[in-house]
Subunit: 402 residues, 4 copies
């Protein structure tokens, strides 16, 4: 009996090469798996299955983990208003980690001897796959034929031709990675530091011009509905919202950031619902959380995003941060009013029973008794004490305080 | 001889009342001072002087501290990409502090016995004025007639009428506070949590529709010019840029945040050049600074903004933070490409000799030798070590790690 | 019927004055309350009750909230290894807050019209009492006769004499504040910056000279026992441990820190069990938590201590931090080996099933496979990438990188 | 002509093997270098030179970089009060980095083709050496024969025997690494989690029993002298102080921490002067710096220590942090009073013209005017505002705030 390998399969040139190579040259029983975190349509799933069959793999498995991805990750990205470098909703990097974990589950399930991925040695995804496998499958060897053999596309195509696999593997002008939490777009422009992406590079074209008035409902930090639509699951609300606003071209930008590997990277993306939800959620929080709740949420969420981006989802501090973030969301409930224009949106305001804004509290009839000018004078006086002493001590000591 | 009081004078109802009250009821020699941090036109300055004369003050002084305000504050706000709550460039709060310091200088110069401001007991400005005076003028008593007497506008008007000062003190629909680093806009809408400001509330109306292509030049973190215009002083560059892009309606938003006093506040603003400069500067930094330089700049700059907002400009840690921020700007030089549309702008990219982007470095001919797939494998393996041990120890200990 | 006031009563001169003054001059029905957070012996409680009776108050209540204080506060101080400025276990400041909350409960229970405390205007305790009452009793007026009247001790004594209360109120040489989590010691030395406290200032004298070998057991971060003694309640374990090691004179120090009010304060303390527990707990954590768990615990715990010290226990972020800290303690279980000498102790090591130390994991037989020299080479190479590019770019640009 | 290699040479078995191997098997001209960062005596330096000659290297160089190590690193460790995990003064890890930089200078000076170090693949030093060489010598190949060949000590000894090098290479019971900023001690005990080091493991034995009273002088954060001795160089003061107090056995401890490689490590050390200086310096800072200066110094210094420990000395943020730390030291001048006992020391207090302690400022005659009870009341009221509103809003909303 042959040894078994599980291969993370995307249907692209690299993983197709791996499937063939691992079976023919290594004599392994190849089990392919495609993990859907929200980026595959039904047609795409079926096309992938057909491709795998055509390659003659022992078995192909498709798993849909959108719900798990939402529950164990996206939810916390929303709680934390996570945007890498203030811009990027982590669209691709978060999904890779969950794909790797689903692959690891399959390896365990069928008790495979090896796990394989098709990454090259150049990028970040190899690190994410490797790390998750190292942690969850410490006894299982990781096979990475493309990385090890440093093959060019031409060499891979030539190899596949020998098996009669003469597919036209032309490279798309833009490399697109679609997922629940955004779609990344790479092209020759993003390899420079100075060129923007042209309109046609973005998967969704701007077809709507009439401004759209929206109300978003949040319950305990999660999107429960918008306008008059209630959803039994935030995942569905996100998808419906995305479909509605994508033709406005909002949530597009170019992210410049540090890769795991230490070099700077630049990538375009469109993420309509993610951007709108994150910004609306954050505005609601500005009204219902205290200053220090906001401060510490920002601190921890920033690290959550950074560690997630760098493949460290399984570092145990991530669970502690999730617990913290969840604990801050008890009162993040209410409505956010939004107006969507082509290429931009306005946050117009919020309504919440937990709004701490003075004007609302004043309606309770006691706000005008909170303090008077005399209290403010005492407050300012004492707030100034340390700096006042410092400046006096400087003068006495003849110090030059500047 | 009467005792002397220096009054921070804006020409509004409150400070007009103070001028009259301090002279007539307290028998003081009133010296008024108006401090221009970039918000006053020449006409406004002259009108203010005329008003002071009309009130019969002993002397009125106008001081222009735009340059000092830029050198000792705005520059660091740019270095730090400071936006309160991710939105607000601190337009008004920073200027109040510098106005107070200029008033304190005048008090020392004429050896005044008292210093006065017209703030009520409700807001934040009283705290900023009080704190600066407490620290810089520990021996000088602070007089605040409006705060102490809790007068209504009607009572103030009635008092002034007695002196024949029958000016029509109608309250403007929107209270506007103009300065170098942005203009704040308050109105009945901003007293609610849910209403946006109407177009007409903003001082500058949107009159430009044709997209504008811009290149911004930065030298050591400061704006040295734009397009083909070079400026001998970043202050002039800021003002020229602001005039050029204001008619596009960019840099408008509503800020929701925590006041010094603990309540939430909501305020509209327009700050065209500040927003564009801050975002362009930040993009340039993403290319030329390392990950940890960005991280620590953000941490310190966030506090710089917070302490400045809360009147703590004279806390000595502020000087330490300025030194840090300045030290990070040695290589923040280059060009940022921007496209300005009505209500929004796109950052298109940058050029800099200090760009750390791999693609540029690759051109130097050695990037492809930085690492190979084998290095990446070792890197991922070791990066996973701690989490790997953690998960193994959990399993051995029978722990339920989730 | 008279209006009711609840007075936080310590039996000292200030609160005795308040009791008499509030009844006689203000015509209030005075209800005194003494809140024991671990510092009162049975005798002291009875003496206090007798004093209250002698003063003729309407009712005196003693409440013991040691358990609540442990469960809602001390536990988290241990989880967080909280020492202000690296030295002080927050002995007194934490207890004041819990005393104030118990007083507030009593006010609500008997529906009192006023709440009173005996603080002067000089210190921090007034702020802690005021803040808790402001938050929990927004409708109840706070009475502070000693603060308002700025009385000297002599004036208070003279006033009490009129009622035949001729107690010898001599001031002790050292002011001692005893509690569950440590005893503070103030004296003329602590008012200077340079003088240490003499041996006799400390309540517990050093009577043990023979080193003591101890093993401390922790379960989920809490002290469950020591040596061969198991306790059903960590509170009992703490008290027994304190009694055992106090005669060694450990846990003594002088804390220099910032008060709420902005001035620097200096205070001596002895806190034998707190110091030993905190340091032993922290050593255990160094073995069972990951680097980033330790890092973020430290960050949040530092703020927990600071906000607690400053009377901000009811700020909602405190609950979020507690949730985080608790979530990190699932595996903080094991034994810590300690040797106690006069004036110092040595932490000798730990045993835990969750120990992440390589040597233990190696025993599992796979540690030598975690990485090899080749992996380390790749790891170092990639870890150096960003700095390497930075230095290259500097050289190309002719920049002076220092 | 042969190609040239520079070998970091310690005279131990591994680097001796490397010297012989690189010359004989690789045909390279071997240039050895020993870098003294404060750990070598004159005799040791000479012994090392003799060893190198005996090995027949082309040239041996000894460089003393103590002063540079102090100026560019130790000084900042003092400014930052840096102790890893609250315990360890980074004795060894900081010195490795500076040794590597000195080696790199030599490589450039003689234009060598290779650089070599004798590290195995197990530890952290390989990472530190590799990283510095990768950054400073991007074109120079790094040779690591011991790591690559995974040799045992026996194999190395057998190889050297072939050249008549029959030195008795017995392994010492404790591996000792001496330097300016402390001496590390490893042994079989430190490989466990629970065993302390025995007395005899420490290089300096405790021979002093009589308590020693000391005064330490600091100028701008640096140790300028102690008792009545003034030094023209802090480096000399450190060495003299260390010699004086080492026989008291202070500054000993066991550090448990995270290595660069992700595993936990445990190491003993003695660092008498470093510990005393760091704690005395910190106490002085508690008196002369403001709360937020202390806070931000701690934040940045903690990272300085972490990045330094992990070989990231050349990351540019380190220069920014050094600038910050230096900027905070302008007033860290004064005297610290210390009493040294066997195994421990007491910090008794400080004197400084920049002391912010209220009691000193009071002597200036105005402290009693800083605030009164009425100010404190207003201060507490406003400080409570946000939590007060939060609790009210909770009640109105029927929320269960816990």
């Amino acid at each position: 009996m042959n040894k078994k390998v599980v291969l993370a399969f995307s249907g692209g040139l690299d993983t197709t090469y791996c499937a063939k190579y691992l079976a023919s040259e290594k004599g392994l029983d190849v089990f392919t798996i495609a993990v859907n975190t929200g980026g595959f349509s039904k047609d795409e799933v079926e096309a992938l299955e057909a491709k795998a069959r055509q390659l003659g793999v022992v078995e192909h498995r498709t798993v849909n983990i959108e719900q798990e991805f939402y529950d164990r990750c996206v939810k916390y990205l929303i709680f934390g208003n996570v945007l890498r470098n203030g811009v990027y909703p982590l669209s691709v990097s978060a999904e890779r980690v969950f794909q790797a974990m689903a692959v690891a589950d399959y390896v365990k399930e069928i008790n495979a001897d090896y796990v394989a991925h098709g990454s090259t040695g150049a990028g970040n995804d190899q690190i994410r796959f490797d790390m998750i496998f190292q942690i969850l499958l410490p006894q299982v060897e990781i096979l990475t034929p493309v990385r090890d053999q440093k093959l060019s596309r031409e060499e891979e195509i030539a190899y596949l031709k020998k098996f009669g696999l003469d597919v036209p593997w032309q490279k798309a002008k833009y490399s697109i990675n679609q997922g629940l939490w955004g779609t990344s777009v790479g092209g020759e422009e993003t390899l420079t530091s100075h060129r923007p992406l042209p309109e046609e590079a973005y998967p969704t074209q701007v077809t709507e011009q009439t401004p759209l008035v929206l109300t978003l409902q949040f319950e305990n930090g999660e999107l429960s509905g918008f306008n008059d639509r209630k959803f039994d699951n935030p995942l569905k609300a996100i998808k419906a919202l995305n479909a509605l606003i994508a033709p406005y071209g909002i949530g597009r930008d170019i992210h410049v950031g540090d890769t795991i590997i230490g070099i700077k990277g630049r990538v375009g993306f469109e993420a309509p619902a993610p951007l709108l939800i994150l910004k609306a959620h954050q505005l609601l929080e500005k009204h219902v959380l205290t200053k220090w709740q906001m401060y510490w949420k920002d601190q921890l969420a920033n690290w959550y995003g950074m560690l997630l981006h760098e493949g460290q989802y399984l570092e145990p501090v991530m669970r502690n941060i999730e617990t913290f973030l969840e604990d801050t969301q008890h009162h993040v409930s209410g409505t956010v009013f939004v107006k969507v224009h082509p290429y931009r949106f306005e946050l117009q305001g919020i309504k919440s029973p937990f709004d701490l804004m003075a004007s609302d509290a004043a309606a309770y009839g006691e706000m005008n008794h909170l303090w008077d000018g005399n209290d403010a004078r005492g407050f300012a006086k004492i707030l100034a004490v340390q700096s006042r002493i410092f400046h006096q001590v400087q003068q006495k000591a003849g110090g030059n305080e500047e």
